[in-house]
């Protein structure tokens, strides 16, 4: 991300302390994480000490200091999804992807996340991949749902298996 791109984001929200969360969120959306250089630049421009920016960056779930995968798999762990078996869906996703929540696969294709509630309770258990909702999930549906997001090589392998 270039400095002029960051500059454009800062301009959108204004050069003031209260804009910090919005700015970080936009950088996160673009880069899928918060690179240190970007944080340093923002800190300098907004006159916010780097330690405070790090405090914010590590406090909120929506922000990440580690690079994230191309596809974010978000499992809703809300109460309604929980009583309908969200834990089992999560366990199966962990097994399929070989990572725990908060982690990213080695090929940077998937990041697995849990969320407290997506507000799509009627369709629970719900998994959102890149913002697209998959309702009424169960462990057996996991493999098929992931398939369309697999990188090409993995996709062929999955096809071969099927």
């Amino acid at each position: 991300m270039t400095q002029s791109e960051i500059e454009a984001i800062i301009e959108r929200y204004g050069r003031k302390e209260s804009s910090i969360l919005s700015i970080l969120q936009d950088i996160q959306t673009r880069e899928k994480y918060l690179p240190r250089e970007a944080l340093e630049y923002v800190g300098e421009k907004l006159q916010i000490p780097l330690n405070k920016i790090y405090r914010i960056a590590t406090f909120y779930r929506a922000l990440s200091l580690m690079p994230r995968g191309r596809h974010e798999v978000c499992v809703c762990m809300g109460t309604a999804c929980h009583v309908r078996g969200a834990q089992r869906v999560l366990d199966q996703l962990k097994l399929e992807l070989g990572i725990a929540p908060g982690e990213t696969t080695k090929d940077l294709n998937f990041t697995l996340e849990t969320v407290n509630c997506l507000g799509v309770c009627a369709a629970g258990p719900v998994v959102a991949i890149d913002g697209q909702y998959f309702g009424k999930m169960n462990p057996t549906k996991v493999e098929g749902t992931l398939k369309q997001f697999r990188s090409d090589k993995k996709k062929e392998a999955a096809d071969g298996k099927a």
């Binding site: 969360l21 909120y60 969320v115 509630c117 998959f134």
Partner: protein
């Protein structure tokens, strides 16, 4: 259209919109709420667009993508106006048929109608469906007929009428008096009287004041604020403008949860449109009163929904709560008087001003007036959003509106109030639902999540679930909350994994008491509720886990064992197919081959229960 500079101009504009709209003209509404999105309403909308383009040939059939209708279980929902025919679970390929038969020829497509679950009767009209019949949709009702991105739709149903009334025929004090008289209580959870809060904020010293709309709906299992903000953002905005006028604030914030991107978009559009028409900004409708609103997005922290933490977040700080020795109405955002109400509370305001407190107070109970929107979810047939008058019983909500429990199972408990709430046992099913009664039984109203639990829900597991949530979401500022939630979670883990002792139960109660007493904000203050309420009503279930190492609901995995009964097994192989870890072996019986009964390898089994659910012959036993 430029800015409107007087109430007369607004009325003229409204008349123009209404004149252009023929009330008898056919139009199709497709629910575009998040629930229907998850069941594929996008494709349905596209299909209708195509059909209209091809077949309507300019005879003016309208298509409107609206906000959430509430009946998410049956989505995608399509309602045909003006007859109000409800079609449910509509697929894209149904669009041509619906158009041909219903829109053009006025005939009903029977197969898409809602069928009464007990009588089997097909119901044509939306209003006759039992799910809607017992509701009182005064706040939520317009969601189904307006396009949230069109301010004209909101104006056509009388939008911003209340704002005119407040600005031009009431003094700020009179507005507050009306809201106080209506006894509007905060819908975000606490139930504090909104009018009183407004008055304190108005009387607080200081020139600059703020109003905030709290749309950081963090309670898992609640999504009514999302649906209001997505489906009818102008009603929330109108409420905020009226509130700001009453309080004397000129700046406002809508704080929206990170997880609700569509809500951010829709309220953004609404703000823009209101500004363009002069309903927001300088000199609203030429009245001399100025007010503008900004959107602030949350960062995905539950505690940031607490008022002081929310204000810290807007200021650009970490969202941690502070002690409220001085209340936020005196010293809130940037230490200035700040009035915060939640989405649903603001949406009630235009109605109170427009129809008057006398009308409003006819609805509800002695201490709780008006309606409340609940998200009825979990183990219930008709999941969705329901708006009911305060005082309705749980039984009416779960059975009459919710259609009872699926699969003929028994109701066990209803959880209300989110992580701060409690579980209400089946024995209290006739409890009238209002702020005070829910608190009396150890739960609370909360923001309105209502999660139905049946006999296959383990109450110890539910308590563990909430404690896990709370220990993650505790910001860590108060030791009692940070450590208390963690220790309670550990103990619940022990119990659900078969290492619990009876002493644990006393310890849980003690820990719960300390956590509640010694923590600053409501998160810690109410954190033990899920544990204490389940201990109060379901102590036997805890004991069963501890003494007999058994989970009666068959949820706690460490205590379960799956076994295939070889004499019952028909060797169909369905369980082996369902097993995600290939822990089941055997041989499928065919006409030619004899087959071998299936068996579960305990070492490989992850106890997910898929085999149990897949077996049609009850050949799998859970112990």
């Amino acid at each position: 259209m430029g800015r409107l500079s007087s109430p007369q101009e607004l009325e003229k504009y409204r008349e123009g919109i209404r004149r252009r709209r023929d009330p008898h003209q056919a139009f199709i509404t497709v629910c575009g709420g998040t629930g229907c999105h998850a069941s594929g309403c996008h494709a349905v909308v596209d299909a209708f667009k195509k059909v209209i383009q091809e077949k309507a040939k300019g005879n003016g059939v309208g298509l409107r993508v609206t906000g959430c209708h509430g009946f998410c279980e049956r989505g995608p929902l399509v309602v045909l106006h003006p007859q109000k025919v409800l079609y449910q679970r509509v697929k894209p390929e149904d669009a041509p048929k619906i158009f041909e038969e219903t829109v053009l020829n006025g005939k009903i497509v029977e197969s898409l109608l809602y069928e009464h679950p007990t009588t089997g009767e097909k119901i044509v009209s939306e209003e006759e469906v039992p799910f809607y019949k017992k509701q009182m949709r005064i706040i939520f009702g317009n969601n189904g007929s307006i396009d949230p991105a069109q301010i004209e739709d909101y104006l056509a149903v009388g939008g911003y009428q209340a704002l005119c009334k407040a600005l031009f025929s009431m003094k700020p004090e009179e507005v507050i008096r009306e809201v106080k008289k209506a006894n509007l209580r905060g819908r975000g959870g606490g139930g504090f009287p909104a009018g009183l809060k407004w008055e304190q904020c108005r009387n607080a010293p200081g020139e600059i004041k703020y109003v905030i709309c709290n749309a950081d709906e963090g309670d898992p299992g609640a999504y009514m604020d999302r649906s209001l903000l997505e489906g009818n953002p102008h009603s929330v905005l109108e409420g905020m403008i009226i509130g700001a006028y009453a309080i004397g604030a000129h700046e406002g914030y809508v704080f929206v949860r990170h997880e609700y991107p569509l809500a951010v978009v829709n309220i953004g559009i609404a703000i823009q449109q209101a500004r363009e028409l002069g309903l927001l900004g300088k000199e609203i409708l030429g009245s001399g009163f100025s007010f503008d609103v900004q959107i602030s997005r949350g960062g995905g922290a539950f505690v940031a929904g607490e008022s002081t933490a929310l204000m810290a977040t807007i200021e650009g700080n970490v969202g941690e709560p502070r002690a409220k020795h001085i209340h936020t109405v005196i010293s809130g955002l940037w230490d200035r008087p700040t009035n915060l109400n939640n989405v649903e509370t603001w949406a009630n305001v235009p109605l109170i001003i427009d129809r008057g407190a006398d009308w409003y107070t006819q609805i509800g109970t002695e201490g709780s007036k008006g309606t409340k929107i609940f998200s009825l979810v979990g183990k219930v047939n008709n999941t969705g959003l329901v708006e009911v008058p305060m005082g309705i019983t749980l039984r009416e909500i779960v059975y009459d509106i919710g259609g009872g429990i699926p699969g003929g199972k028994k109701l066990k408990a209803v959880q209300t109030g989110g992580p701060s709430g409690g579980c209400i046992p089946e024995s209290l099913i006739d409890l009238p639902v209002d702020f005070d009664r829910l608190t009396e039984v150890g739960s609370m109203m909360g923001s309105g999540g209502m999660i139905v639990m049946d006999e296959s829900t383990c109450m110890v597991d539910v308590a563990k679930y909430f404690m896990n949530f709370l220990k993650d979401e505790s910001c860590g500022k108060c030791t009692s909350c940070r450590e208390g939630t963690r220790r309670m979670h550990e103990i619940l883990m022990e119990i659900t994994e078969g290492r619990g002792t009876l002493d644990h139960l006393d310890l849980l109660e003690e820990l719960g008491w300390v956590t509640a007493e010694a923590s600053l904000c409501a998160l810690g203050g109410t954190a033990p509720n899920p544990v204490l309420s389940t201990l109060r009503y379901f102590r036997d279930e805890y004991k069963e886990h501890i003494l007999n190492k058994r989970c009666p609901a068959k949820v706690c995995r460490a205590l379960l064992k799956y076994r295939i009964l070889s004499d019952v097994c028909t060797m169909c192989g369905r369980c082996a197919k369902a097993c995600p870890v290939e822990a089941i072996s055997g041989k499928v019986k065919t006409k030619k081959e004899k087959g071998i009964p299936f068996k579960i390898d305990e070492q490989k089994c992850i106890k997910c229960g898929m085999c149990f659910e897949s077996c049609k012959f009850e050949a799998i036993e859970v112990q």
